[in-house]
């Protein structure tokens, strides 16, 4: 086991590649995402996407914000070698929607908005609401774990270098 601080810095690119792959999958293969998570109705990019290009020792950051923002600049950045460092997602299952942001380097979840839960009106309501919130959080953590697990097996296989990288390149430059 590597030293934690060293491992954090050394492997943060892996989280950014995960988010880049995730954006590619969202745009090109919802069917496969549904196979990974059978409850999933749709997974879409929300209102924020941050990309970073650290090639040539110069850091260039592209931030795309807004509900109907054009993603062309992001695709252009990908085709120039950038990776997604932060993505805002909307995850839908049946009638419920979760919104959250995911950071590549840490896999931290932020700005998480859960589907509506019952109100806390009396102290007796707290346990029920807490357990309901935990159930809803588990769903979102479950899909993140699930997608990351699929990604990491792919990333460590020959398919990544032989097929996936060129598919992502083709997608980014085709728009």
């Amino acid at each position: 086991m590597l030293d934690i601080a060293v491992a954090y810095s050394r492997y943060k690119f892996l989280g950014n590649e995960f988010l880049t792959w995730l954006w590619f999958m969202i745009e090109t293969d919802q069917g496969r995402l549904r196979k990974y998570d059978t409850d999933l109705v749709s997974l879409t990019v929300g209102n924020r996407l941050v990309l970073e290009n650290t090639r040539s020792n110069a850091k260039e950051t592209v931030t795309i914000k807004g509900d109907n923002a054009s993603m062309e600049e992001g695709l252009l950045a990908i085709s120039k070698g950038a990776a997604v460092t932060e993505i805002h997602l909307a995850y839908k299952t049946g009638a419920q929607t979760w919104e959250f942001s995911l950071k590549g380097e840490s896999l931290n979840i932020s700005n998480l908005k859960l589907p509506e839960t019952g109100p806390v009106e009396t102290p007796d309501d707290i346990e029920g609401v807490v357990l309901e919130k935990i159930y809803l959080i588990e769903k979102v953590i479950g899909i993140v774990n699930n997608l990351f697990t699929h990604f990491i097996h792919l990333r460590l296989s020959n398919t990544w270098d032989n097929q996936t990288v060129s598919r992502i390149r083709k997608w980014a430059s085709s728009k």
């Binding site: 880049t20 070698g81 998480l112 097996h153 990544w160």
Partner: protein, 204 residues
């Protein structure tokens, strides 16, 4: 931001190891022993301790009140005194002027300036109340999974330190490497590849 907030931030951990004896009793003892003090320590700039999820300003863990179904839910509280720099500047100026008047001198040495500043900060720390910050956590002992409801570096570091002190268990933060290593069920061959892997870019 916490478990009942409308927007939340979560840092995920795995708790490494096992508790000795009854889980709830051991956790109860750890929480009680390292609970945030009810009486504020006037002299310290920050106090860190556990508190109860439902009553964060009056810690109470009696009757295993931190147990919710199969989960343990409690909170980390950090009470911190923040002295506005302008307040330090004002009191420093007043004190320095008084020192000059008392001694009849026109300037203060570097050491005197430092000693006056330390004295001012120390005096103000005793007079200013601490601001409490409460961060909830959910711990599922069976799966060793722990969610901490903050992404702030200082709060996460305080959690990691207090957790091992209280329960003698290490918290392992889940970021790309640790999530791959501990959660993804990698085969030995994949683990070898992970060790040597480097970045790849779609255009390469």
């Amino acid at each position: 931001m916490g478990l009942l907030s409308s927007r939340m931030s979560i840092t995920r951990y795995q708790a490494a190891g096992q508790l000795d004896g009854s889980v709830h009793e051991t956790v109860y003892q750890g929480l009680k022993q390292h609970a945030i003090p009810k009486i504020e320590d006037d002299g310290s700039e920050a106090t860190v301790g556990w508190t109860s999820f439902e009553t964060p300003y009056a810690p109470d863990f009696e009757g295993y009140s931190f147990v919710f179904g199969g989960y343990m839910v409690f909170s980390l509280r950090i009470d911190k005194k923040s002295i506005p720099p302008k307040l330090i500047q004002k009191h420093y100026a007043l004190y320095a002027a008084k020192r000059l008047a008392d001694t009849g001198r026109h300037y203060l040495s570097g050491n005197e300036k430092k000693s006056i500043k330390d004295h001012v900060v120390n005096t103000l720390v005793h007079r200013i109340p601490a601001t409490p910050n409460v961060y909830d956590l959910v711990w599922e002992y069976e799966t060793a999974s722990l969610w901490f409801f903050s992404n702030l570096k200082a709060a996460n570091e305080a959690l990691e330190t207090l957790f091992i002190k209280s329960f003698n268990l290490h918290l392992i933060r889940l970021f790309p490497y640790t999530a791959a290593d501990r959660m993804a069920g990698l085969a030995d061959k994949e683990r070898d590849i992970l060790r040597d892997i480097g970045t790849s870019r779609p255009e390469e």
